[in-house]
């Protein structure tokens, strides 16, 4: 009888919330203001950034892995890349960033029609449109570092959909992000804390959606850091068309060696995002130790 009641309650609640989901939701909360990034949970990942070969917990496929393993960080010295900002697929992840979020108001109707976010590396400031405007042409539209974002208030969350992102990265260690990805962000506010959960689907480089979350703390005294203009300089002498890259077959083992694991353990893939993978890790560690003892 209790189970029966629970099922009914589940269905009723779901139907209630479904109605809410499909109706035009009113604005849930305000996200404008100054927000300080809280990075204590994943400091290493977000500030210094992951090392080469550290793909653990990211559902990359073989194509992405080949791109990451052959990625040479020297490529950032290309004159055309020195000024690159962080792409939307990564820009809210690190370093920081401390955000300044500004409301965009229709001057005639006084309605909130969007938000601008500032503070990301390289100033690929994002605009989240809330006025229902369509996304650009899927076949011919320009892709930008910040993509094109629209948001709607759904069930107490700000749900932001971003398309038209450039070929970018998911991490600062060469893991590629394709321009065909779609990023959905779920923004929640809990008192003075603002949390965003991002959910990225990428048919080119991900085996499964890539999910991660970031939290900010309301911080009114924080200063807007303004626009940082990157100037391209001659960092290294190179010929026109210089494109550094590592040979196929390169394995970045520094990280796995440090952890005492075979390189496969840190090579990412959808299996590595599930708790069951811990058992695989134990077995790999045992095998690694046996091999090392046998050397």
């Amino acid at each position: 009888m209790n189970s029966y009641r629970l099922v009914i309650a589940f269905i009723a609640t779901s139907l209630f919330q479904l109605t809410a989901v499909n109706s035009t939701a009113a604005q849930g909360f305000d996200i404008s203001g100054m927000w300080a990034a809280i990075v204590l949970e994943d400091w290493n990942d977000r500030l210094p950034g992951p090392v080469l070969g550290e793909y653990f917990g990211i559902p990359i496929n073989d194509a992405a892995r080949q791109k990451a393993e052959t990625w040479d960080s020297l490529i950032l010295s290309q004159a055309e890349r020195q000024g690159q900002p962080h792409p939307a697929q990564y820009s809210f992840r690190g370093p920081g960033p401390n955000l300044s979020i500004i409301p965009i108001v229709d001057l005639e109707t006084r309605e909130l029609i969007g938000y601008e976010t500032h503070g990301t590396y390289g100033n690929a400031d994002r605009t989240i449109w809330l006025d229902g405007r369509p996304h650009p042409s899927m076949r011919y539209g320009l892709h930008k570092w910040n993509g094109f974002s629209t948001g709607e208030w759904v069930d107490g969350m700000l749900v932001v959909t971003t398309t038209h992102m450039k070929y970018g990265v998911y991490q600062r260690n060469g893991i590629p992000a394709s321009p065909h990805g779609v990023m959905t962000e779920y923004w929640f506010r809990n008192d003075n804390y603002l949390t965003m959960l991002s959910y990225i689907e990428d048919p080119i480089y991900l085996e499964e959606p890539f999910v991660r979350s970031q939290t900010w703390l309301w911080n009114p005294p924080q200063m807007d850091e303004g626009v940082e203009v990157f100037e391209s300089v001659e960092e290294v002498f190179n010929d026109q068309g210089w494109v550094p890259h590592l040979p196929i077959g390169t394995k970045h083992t520094w990280w796995s060696d440090r952890l005492g694991l075979p390189v496969e353990a840190t090579s990412g893939g959808s299996a590595t995002i599930y708790p069951e993978y811990r058992e695989n890790l134990r077995q790999m560690r045992d095998e690694f130790d046996r091999n090392r003892a046998g050397e």
């Binding site: 076949r139 069930d155 398309t163 494109v243 040979p247």
Partner: protein, 331 residues
């Protein structure tokens, strides 16, 4: 006992609520990532977009078209496939009633010239020196292209492009310039790229570059060795595009680029494409230096990370055909 049951029940309700929330998050409609299939070669579908300045872009199955609109008339760069001609003209007429003054073809390829006659029909030539313009019957306005294109049209595409649609205002040097609507326009030959006849077109005031098939966001470049094309020529041309394009700050804004096929772009997109081709060239060269056969190159997955973006398993330019052309060039 009752207290314990209440706690248990409360825990279950919390869990239930969380499950419902997750369940409903999954139900929120969001955009689904998709890679659009290419239009059928004979599709009449067109889509028109504003680019910047006085430049528009019309997408067709044959090629992208760049359109300069102004009080003194139109310049049309490439004209797409013939099946889309009527819709192209309708799209132009939705923007302006001014006559076309020049057609420029980025290469002497049928899929870029299919609408030349239709565009010429809405053309009105300036009163130019007749010695400059071929006044043979059927030629209404200048159709500009590199002189090498005439060789291709006369030998390879004679049956595919009607004579009246051929280039009739050609040049053989590196650069030709024209001016219309107060804007300087450079037409720059790119030797041995997709064919021997490629040009890029630079609208200097509007700050828009039209690359033709040298840059294609949907495919590996379809360079044709039999028409004088080469991978290295494509890479050189892409480096030229990168040298010419100027972003505003931090690789954002500035020069916009209309590719031969696919989406509008700016410098950083061309940099990714150039880097991809350079890396593939270097990998194939290394494989050849190590005496690998073509089949070993295929088995080596040298283009794995790029195949999802630019590769095709079927059609007139498969990944295998591309790699074979690269292999043959570098061997």
């Amino acid at each position: 006992m009752t207290k314990k049951n209440t706690k248990y029940s409360s825990f279950r309700l919390t869990l239930l609520s969380l499950l419902v929330a997750i369940f409903n998050v999954c139900l929120i409609e969001t955009a689904v990532p998709q890679i659009l299939a290419p239009l059928a070669k004979d599709s009449d579908e067109v889509e028109i977009l504003s680019v910047q300045g006085s430049i528009y872009m019309i997408g067709t199955a044959g090629s992208n078209i760049a359109l300069m609109v102004g009080e003194s008339g139109l310049i049309v760069v490439d004209s797409g496939n013939i099946e889309a001609s009527e819709n192209v003209i309708n799209a132009i007429r939705e923007l302006t009633s001014e006559p076309a003054r020049f057609i420029i073809n980025t290469a002497a390829l049928p899929e870029h010239m299919g609408g030349n006659l239709a565009v010429a029909d809405i053309g009105e030539p300036f009163d130019l020196n007749p010695a400059v313009i071929d006044t043979r019957e059927g030629f209404s306005i200048p159709i500009i292209g590199h002189g090498n294109g005439l060789l291709l049209l006369g030998t390879e595409f004679e049956d595919l492009v009607p004579y009246e649609a051929w280039l009739n205002d050609t040049f053989f040097s590196e650069r030709k310039t024209i001016s219309l609507n107060g804007e300087a326009i450079e037409i720059l030959h790119q030797p041995n790229a997709i064919t021997q006849s490629d040009v890029i077109v630079h609208f200097r005031q509007s700050d828009v570059l039209v690359t033709g098939d040298i840059f294609d966001t949907t495919s590996y470049p379809k360079f044709k060795p039999e028409y004088g094309g080469s991978l290295q020529g494509v890479i050189d041309a892409l480096n030229h595009v990168i040298d010419t394009a100027v972003p505003i700050i931090n690789q954002q804004g500035g020069t916009l680029i209309i590719p031969g096929h696919g989406r509008q772009a700016n410098e950083s997109d061309v940099v990714e494409y150039r880097d991809m081709l350079t890396i593939i060239r270097d990998r194939v060269q290394l494989a050849i230096d190590e005496d690998m056969s073509f089949e070993e190159v295929i088995a080596g997955n040298l283009t794995l990370e790029y195949d999802g973006l630019y590769g095709h398993d079927s059609g007139d330019w498969t990944t295998r055909m591309f790699l074979e052309a690269v292999y043959d060039e570098l061997r």
